[in-house]
Amino acid sequence: MTAGSKSQAGIVTGQVGHSADDGATRRDFLFLTAGSFGAVGAGIAAWPLVHSMNPAKDTLALSTTEVDISKIEKGQSITVMWQGKPVFVRHRTEDEIDQARKVDLSALGDKQEDTARVKKDREAWLVVVGICTHLGCVPVGQKPSESRGDFGGWFCPCHGSHYDTSGRIRKGPAPKNLAVPPYEFLSDTLIKIG
């Protein structure tokens, strides 16, 4: 684009006589506006490409799971799949609830009361996403044979994170408590996750 070079631009402005004091010409202005519109347009055109990679409608539609909890004994825990992720549903014993409730908040990394992590009057039930908040491994502790870590909840073997009986992070590199998914009790024995 030789027309953009300084000497030639000078000649053009000399002839047409639209040069402002700072040397900017009408042509410079048109180039700039056309260029900016082009760039914005290209950006907008790229959005459908980028957005096509976000979860699709059918993926989003699969996002609730119903769980029958009538068969889970006290002290037991089951794993269900929700949105491709394991969810732990744990029937806590009185002891475990006590342990979770008597912890001093200042001892926690991610400060949250146990009451904020369970439904009112259903404190025996703890429902958490079974994915370590460090880098996404599945913590162990669901089966009686597995280690539940130093705090009686779960233990992530990947980099050694310990969770307590409320699913809160107590030790190790994970930054957050195990997430509580949105869920509701449809009846005494049925919950809907999502």
């Binding site: 980028v50 990679m53 976000n54 979860p55 699709a56 993926t59 996002s63 794993t79 799949m81 949105q83 491709g84 992720k85 394991p86 994915i131 460090h134 880098l135 996404g136 491994c137 599945v138 073997p157 990947c158 980099h159 050694g160 590199p173 930054p175």
Partner: protein
């Protein structure tokens, strides 16, 4: 590439084509008579070897893709079928699998050559930067390729690495969902990884083209780091270096074949022969060996950076690890402006050479740390500490040692020319 500079060819057909599209002139100029320093050692073979490996990966990859199914229910079985039932499928797969490793070996040596002989310095900055771009693209390609067989390591490696992005404040979780196309590594993820795994090698090919173009503008560096000053310093590329490159490549391929035919799974991980299972994490997740040093840097940061004694955290441990890992590659991009010492080659910079060798050792140690469980120890020292020290040295080498040597290192006397250096070495031998 003007027609005025065209070479003359005796063959009429060649001549006819060349007048219309001067590809023969181009080849003649860039690979025939191209003046090349006469003193290359075998470190200069690895560019050609890497090029060969890239082509081998693309060739085997295309034929694997003809039998591969990118679906979570079928991917694992389709790869097993390639191994067992497809004619020569086992060979294609073993070449592709080990080819990735041998591609990385060649490129790591190639990069180290550049560091040792100062090949990143003026006027080769862009050449070097394009090389780092290729390295990054290779890592992305290999990472996504490793997900395709849909074994346990595929799945959990993908989970851990994509989760890294969740460390980014505010937008992190959105980015991770976007990468997954869902709420976990799942079918949409496998599909897009396959699409990108097919695409990226061709992007690499294009960047390699630019890399070689830049090389042919500046010309090659050489073990002395001195620019050629005249004919006595160079040799025509053909036949001298076509032969040397071919010889080196053949030796390399012998070693490569030993792995492909006798130990095809030596460099891999047995857990990847178990199908992916979203409910069971393997006890010890390790990436492929060529990622280990970077994986160690990722895990080295286990502390939050914030105001001590309060809960205020600026950089969480998780984000810190991610920054340490990506930053280590970012440093390579700016290396030409960190090391501005006028002498290129480590041959004439004893202090630089010493620190560079320690750097190499630190990198290898980091690789070892990355291969071990996070809470392991070596001779009583927690690997955690060793990983942190290695990471600290990696950074210090670039940000402290190099700038300091710029100011203080005198260096040895540099020979007047390549020719002088070669003759002096010959004289010593006799």
């Amino acid at each position: 590439m003007g027609s005025s500079e065209r070479a003359t060819f005796n063959n009429k057909v060649v001549s006819w084509i060349d007048e219309r599209l001067p590809v023969f002139t181009l080849m003649q100029k860039e690979y025939g008579v191209f003046p090349t320093p006469r003193n290359f050692n075998y470190f200069w073979n690895f560019g050609a070897i890497a090029m060969f490996m890239l082509i081998a990966m693309i060739a085997t990859g295309i034929f694997l893709a003809m039998n591969y199914t990118a679906h979570v229910d079928m991917a694992f079985d389709s790869v097993e079928r390639i191994d067992r039932d497809v004619n020569w499928g086992w060979l294609l797969r073993d070449i592709h699998m080990n080819g990735a490793s041998f591609f990385f070996i060649a490129v790591y040596i190639h990069i180290f050559r550049g560091l040792y002989y100062g090949s990143y310095k003026k006027p080769r900055e862009i050449l070097w930067i394009l090389g780092v771009v290729i390295f990054l693209l290779m890592m992305a390609t290999a990472f996504m390729g490793y997900v395709l067989p849909w074994g346990q390591m595929s799945y959990w490696g993908a989970t851990v690495i994509t989760n890294l992005f969740s460390a980014i404040p505010l937008v992190g979780d959105g980015i991770v969902k976007w990468l997954w196309g869902g709420f976990a590594v799942d079918n949409p993820t496998l599909n897009r990884f396959f699409a990108l795994h097919y695409l990226l090698p061709f992007v690499i090919f294009a960047v390699v083209f630019l890399h070689v173009w830049a090389l042919h503008v500046s010309g090659s560096n050489n073990p002395t780091g001195i620019e050629p000053k005249g004919k006595q310093d160079t040799l025509p590329f053909h036949p001298y270096y076509t032969m040397k490159d071919t010889f080196g490549l053949l030796v390399y391929l012998v070693i490569f074949c030993a792995f492909v035919f006798y130990a095809p799974d030596y460099l891999g991980h047995p857990d990847n022969y178990r199908e992916a299972n979203a409910l069971v994490t393997p006890a010890h997740i390790v990436p492929e060996w060529y990622f280990l040093p970077f994986y160690a840097m990722l895990r080295a940061i286990t502390f939050d950076v914030g105001i001590p004694g309060t809960d205020i955290v600026f950089i969480s441990a998780k984000l810190g690890g991610v920054i340490a890992m990506f930053g280590s590659i970012a440093l390579l991009f700016v290396l030409p402006w960190l090391d501005t010492h006028p002498i290129r080659s480590a041959r004439y910079r004893p202090q630089f050479r010493l620190f560079l060798m320690i750097f190499l050792a630190a990198f290898v140690v980091l690789g070892y740390v990355g291969s071990q469980p996070a809470d392991a120890a070596l001779a009583g020292v927690p690997l955690q500490v060793i990983g942190l020290l290695g990471t600290a040295y990696y950074y210090a080498f670039f940000l402290v040692v190099l700038p300091w040597l710029n100011k203080t290192e005198k260096g040895k006397d540099v020979p007047k020319s390549i020719y002088d250096a070669v003759m002096a070495a010959e004289g010593k031998k006799k």
